[in-house]
Symmetry: C2
DNA sequence: CAGCATCCGGAAAGATACTG
DNA sequence: CAGTATCTTTCCGGATGCTG
């Protein structure tokens, strides 16, 4: 597990949110789990660009931040499911707001992001 | 200027937002600028934990993403002001939503974040 | 005051191989 | 299927010093 550096700057809600949402895939992970409990393999299928290792790390962090909870079924083969906690549920409207803005401005966002990489391809991952 | 790696995964609004908001201080920078145009030195006074170099870099990125615009006054000593663009303005309600959630859950957030660092101090930056 | 150049430490994320 | 351990790359963010 990575250890984030000391955080003396956490003096406003914005920074605190930034802390728990820090991580390249967390928004999408939370979003998918919000659809209903998900198994790790499902999440990876939904987010194929993330490696299993990083997926696990970010799930662990979300778990430590009490946004998701993990249920382990003692069966063979192993089965694990992730759900949102009640706390995590409260975050979903926020993520939804973010996603809606992103969707509403998708074309422009793609433009301004990709103009930095004129030689690179965006889609087709 | 940093160059982010190739981005084949940008296939939903959530990812796109993550891309333009990626950066430790961008939420707060945008938030402060949304109060009205700000000079770099003002921003640094408001966010003392950020170095001038990083502040400039993130301002540049926000500028490239067309969320803020920079006005240079040809005077001596130099004077520069940052404002939100119209595009940037549309993001403010989103940031506000994020901040409100963070404020509403400030205590709990501080708990879950800091329990990872039992030996460290949170405030007083 | 505004901003850039250079150097640098360390965290985030990726690749691979392995265990239960 | 779920998860960890190790190694490596990328690159974010910080410190300092210089220019206009």
């Amino acid at each position: 597990m990575y250890e984030r550096k000391i955080l003396p700057y956490l003096n406003c809600g914005l920074d605190l949110v930034g802390e728990v949402l820090y991580g390249k895939w967390k928004l999408r992970i939370l979003w998918f789990i919000s659809e209903g409990h998900k198994r790790p393999s499902e999440l990876q299928r939904k987010i194929p660009d993330v490696s299993r290792r990083v997926l696990n790390i970010q799930l662990r962090e979300l778990e430590e931040h009490e946004l998701v909870k993990r249920t382990i079924y003692p069966v063979m083969p192993p089965k694990v499911e992730y759900d949102l906690t009640d706390f995590g549920e409260t975050l979903i409207p926020v993520i939804r707001t973010i996603g809606l803005w992103g969707d509403a401005h998708e074309d422009r966002l793609r433009d301004v992001i990709l103009k930095q990489f004129p030689d690179r391809v965006a889609m087709g991952g």
